[in-house]
């Protein structure tokens, strides 16, 4: 069974009193007994010395009557005195109080030497114990004899026992009184402590509206004759004014309890109203809970604001496409954003608290750890581009790592920010390629321009020779070959010039359908010879646009030739034209039922000089020129193999060209 505080106090209190009582009884009573016996012994000596002094004159006068009177009076003085007698200087009895003769053995039972004040000896008569005192009778340093006095020890013991009995009764009475008084004093204390305990439990349960201290009997507004109703202490009977902040008394110091208590202790209100320690404890507890309640309210508000700010910050961080992470100085991740989670394909809980070794491959983790360690030690930020494996293949990341300094000399951790620059890298590569191609184009244009004239001369002279030589002869064939190859060279030169965009532009407004029809009229016959049928489906409305009609016709020729080359024979070419998503753009689709383009090749078909045809069949510049013309017109060209139309007639290829009508543009605004 567990004892309560009150029971423990009572138990301890009474145990203490009991032990104290026992100690007092056993120790003090023994001391008292000893001192009582000592007192009795001293009393014997004292009586003896006194009687001895009074005995001098009768002894000198040998006045036996006076001596007898003195010894008899002494014995009658007290029931505790058994006998008195006087011995002369030779030890013979002169006078005594025994009725039937003098006991012989008593003469020598106790002696006192000259110079001694007295001597005490315990005698056992068989019936009882006697304290025998021997005191010398002296006059002018001459010893006349010895006075002997006998006191009953039993009488002394009776007195001691009486004292001990009185002591016991007194101690018991004292214990009872102490117990009663202690109980009366303890009751309000334990009651207050219990109330304090209940209040603290109530506060722990979250209810801070506790009332522990008793109601105030004297009020500050009465003592100070105050009428300031706006004062927080005014008519507040639950809390003392010195525990409150913001009281309006002129003598009050502003601020919280700690700042003002010294001043308050000098105030009349404090002097009249402050209670004992228990009451002060209860009042301060009430004030503490009141203060705690206010602080908790402020804390909740602050927490709410903090949470909002945190959520906002997290939202911002998560909204940022770049990944961001914060690591402590041990390398463990403390905070990450959504992009970081997505990059690692893990949720936040799986990342927080982990180190690089837990999240990345061994090689990468070692590299990152090395970087992190260097940054933490040198405090120099790191900016670099990493190539890391991603979910969709290798990724290029632009990474910035910055040390977080808590103080001048202490690095708390590091922030890592990274961005996926894979696409940017690809564009950079394309740009580099484009620049390279542009340089090549310019070079080719220059070369073509210079070669074009000699080629024309060669072709002219070759054609003149063909007219001059016999058609059946070897010479004719050779010259014809020269002329043919020269034409081919001219075409290459023309293509190069087109590719290099160096050819002149002739911008007009025209119907794209007309341009397609013109091209078809040129090639349809040739295609039909190889059983390649061209099917077309034009928009009913004229598809007017602003552009270089001849160059666009060249585009369609190139695309149709490529389709024909892919079919070779027995196939179909489908041409569709119409408006795109809006009326401001025209969409032309050319698809074939040819062999199609492999995935590897499809990426390279727009690159110059890339061809899958034989050496005499293609220059590798057709689609590059096509791409350039379309770009020149701010349009787009996409290739799909197999086609998007879903016709499962072989593999086939579909080119979709989207061109802005450019009708709202002024003449000459075309790209280039």
């Amino acid at each position: 069974m567990k004892l309560g505080f009150r029971s423990k106090i009572y138990l301890g209190f009474f145990s203490l009193l009991l032990i104290q009582g026992l100690v007092i009884f056993l120790w003090v009573s023994q001391v008292m007994k000893d001192s009582m016996l000592e007192e009795i012994k001293n009393r014997g000596v004292s009586i003896g010395v006194s009687l001895s002094a009074r005995m001098v004159e009768p002894m000198l006068a040998m006045d036996f009557l006076r001596m007898k009177v003195l010894v008899d009076e002494t014995v009658q003085l007290d029931n505790g005195i058994f006998y008195t007698f006087v011995l002369d200087e030779k030890g013979n009895p002169l006078i005594h109080t025994f009725k039937h003769g003098f006991p012989v053995e008593l003469k020598t039972a106790n002696t006192v030497q000259d110079g001694q004040k007295g001597s005490m000896q315990l005698l056992d008569t068989g019936d009882q114990l006697i304290f025998d005192y021997a005191v010398p009778v002296i006059i002018n340093d001459n010893r006349l004899g010895t006075l002997r006095l006998g006191l009953f020890q039993t009488q002394a013991e009776k007195m001691v026992n009486k004292i001990m009995f009185t002591t016991i009764v007194t101690i018991i009475f004292a214990i009872l009184m102490a117990g009663i008084v202690g109980t009366l004093l303890l009751k309000p204390v334990t009651k207050s402590i219990k109330k304090l305990h209940d209040s603290s439990e109530q506060a722990l349960r979250g209810d801070l509206d506790v009332r522990t201290a008793p109601m105030l009997k004297k009020n500050c507004w009465d003592i100070m004759q105050c009428s300031q109703k706006e004062c927080p202490a005014y008519e507040n009977q639950c809390h003392r004014c010195w525990y409150m902040a913001g009281t309006l008394c002129t003598s009050c110091v502003e601020g919280e309890y700690a700042k003002r208590i010294d001043s308050c202790q000098q105030c009349q209100v404090y002097k009249q109203c402050s209670g004992d320690e228990i009451q002060s404890l209860a009042e301060s507890f009430d004030a503490m809970t009141l203060s705690l309640k206010g602080n908790l309210s402020d804390l909740k508000t602050a927490e709410s604001i903090l949470n909002e700010q945190k959520a906002l910050l997290q939202t911002i961080l998560d909204a940022i496409p770049d990944f961001i992470s914060l690591q402590d100085n041990e390398g463990c991740y403390v905070s990450v954003n959504r992009a970081f989670c997505e990059m690692l394909n893990k949720n936040k809980e799986e990342i927080i608290g982990k180190a690089n070794g837990d999240l990345f491959s061994k090689t990468l983790a070692e590299m990152f750890n090395k970087e992190d360690k260097s940054i933490l030690e040198t405090r120099i930020p790191l900016v670099k581009e990493n190539r890391v494996p991603g979910l969709k293949g290798l990724k290029w990341l632009h990474v910035v790592k910055i040390p977080v300094l808590e103080t001048k000399n202490y690095v708390k951790g590091l922030v890592c920010s990274g961005r996926d620059i894979t696409k940017l890298k690809a564009v950079q590569e394309q740009l580099t390629q484009s620049q390279k191609m542009e340089s090549v184009g310019r070079l080719a244009a220059g070369v073509a321009h210079e070669i074009n004239t000699p080629l024309g001369i060669i072709l002219g002279y070759a054609q003149l020779l063909l007219e001059d030589v016999e058609k059946d002869g070897q010479m004719y064939e050779d010259v014809a070959t020269i002329a043919k190859q020269t034409k081919l060279c001219s075409k290459i030169v023309a293509d190069l010039l087109n590719f290099s965009r160096s050819s002149q532009k002739n911008i007009t407004k025209f119907n794209i359908n007309e341009a397609i029809k013109e091209v078809l009229s040129m090639v349809e016959h040739t295609f039909s010879l190889n059983h390649v049928i061209v099917k077309h489906e034009y928009d009913k409305n004229p598809l007017l646009m602003q552009g270089d009609k001849e160059k666009l016709k060249q585009v369609f020729i190139n695309l149709l030739n490529n389709a024909f080359d892919a079919i070779k024979e027995n196939g179909s070419i489908f041409i569709n034209s119409g408006f795109g998503k809006t009326q401001s753009e025209i969409k032309i689709s050319i698809s074939d039922t040819g062999c199609g383009i492999s995935k590897d090749n499809i990426k390279k078909i727009f690159e110059p000089f890339y061809t899958t045809k034989g050496p005499d069949q293609g220059t590798g510049l057709g689609l590059s020129v096509t791409f350039g013309i379309i770009k020149e017109h701010n349009g787009t060209i996409n290739v799909y193999s197999p086609p998007l139309s879903g016709k499962k007639e072989g593999n086939g290829t579909q080119f979709i060209v989207v061109l802005p009508t450019g009708l709202n543009m002024k003449k000459g605004e075309l790209n280039g």
Binding site: W27, P93, F102
Partner: protein, 306 residues
């Protein structure tokens, strides 16, 4: 820790228990009757109890020791309580050597045939002494001996020389008789009578008192003697006297006389003895030396038989 508590408790419980004192066994049944055995060959020496026995003992104890040594006699001082007892014991031959004032001496000489053989020389260097009439110093009604009329008078004893006989003669010489006093009283009780007279006057119980010369010095440790004034002093008469009882062996008297004559105040040991006895010398004396006292007694009408 708990053993500490147990130890403490045991210490407290048992530390107060002491051992009983050892007792000597005595048999009270064996009894005897107390009978004083008379000591033979003892020369008894008594000092007239004008003071307490203690003072008498103090004054003459060393002297007796000296006499015992010098004479080889077994001299023992005894202490009669009153002047009358002293005189009777001389008559009963219980006192062999009496040291008394001259008035007592003329009485024991007259009554019991005692004979003077020596007398003392006072500390003043005189072989005579006087009686003094005293009163309180603040008693303005008594300025001279004539102012003593109708006053209450306390004297030492009717047998006292310095304390009664000499002052009475002095009063009569000045025309003042016993009847002129309002009251004449004597100091009560045995012994210490000189002191009692001074104390009675000091306390204001009596207006005047009569004492022998030198008494005020004796009581100086008891009262402030400046509060007492001496009104008048009697004529000087022979001092204290050593007398031998009737029939005492003359050889003993001679031995004592020789021993007395050897006392020399210049001798350190003797001086201590003499100072304790309050005289400086003992000189030979004969009965005739005390005739002036006998004449005084006769003149004041005091009978030697009373």
């Amino acid at each position: 820790m708990k053993y500490g508590w147990v130890f403490l408790l045991c210490f407290l419980l048992f530390s107060g228990c002491g051992e009983n004192e050892s007792a000597i066994k005595v048999d009270l049944t064996e009894r005897e009757q107390v009978i004083l055995k008379e000591e033979h060959g003892v020369i008894t020496y008594a000092y007239l109890p004008q003071y307490s026995h203690t003072i008498s003992h103090f004054r003459h104890h060393s002297l007796i020791q000296y006499l015992r040594k010098e004479t080889g006699l077994n001299i023992k001082q005894i202490f009669p309580d009153t002047f009358d007892e002293h005189m009777k014991m001389v008559g009963q031959e219980k006192i062999d050597i009496s040291y008394s004032n001259p008035f007592i001496y003329i009485k024991i000489a007259h009554r019991y045939g005692a004979k003077a053989f020596a007398r003392i020389v006072e500390m003043t260097g005189k072989d005579k002494f006087r009686g003094q009439i005293i009163c309180r110093a603040d008693n303005s009604s008594i300025k001279n001996i004539y102012d003593c009329r109708n006053k209450r008078w306390i004297a030492v004893d009717s047998t006292s020389a310095g304390g009664y006989l000499y002052p009475l003669g002095h009063f009569i010489d000045h025309g003042i008789t016993k009847k002129d006093f309002k009251e004449i009283a004597f100091a009560p009780g045995p012994g210490g009578k000189q002191e009692k007279v001074v104390l009675s006057v000091y306390a204001g119980k009596y207006d005047i008192g009569t004492i022998r010369e030198g008494t005020l010095d004796v009581v100086s440790d008891k009262i402030n003697i400046n509060k007492i004034k001496v009104v008048s002093m009697s004529n000087p008469y022979p001092g204290w006297v050593y007398a031998a009882r009737k029939n005492l062996d003359k050889k003993i008297v001679e031995k004592l006389n020789q021993a007395f004559r050897k006392l020399d105040f210049n001798n350190k040991e003797h001086r201590e003895i003499l100072e304790a006895a309050s005289f400086i010398k003992v000189i030979n004396s004969v009965d005739k030396d005390f005739d002036p006292v006998r004449q005084l007694a006769e003149r004041v009408g005091m009978s030697l038989e009373e």
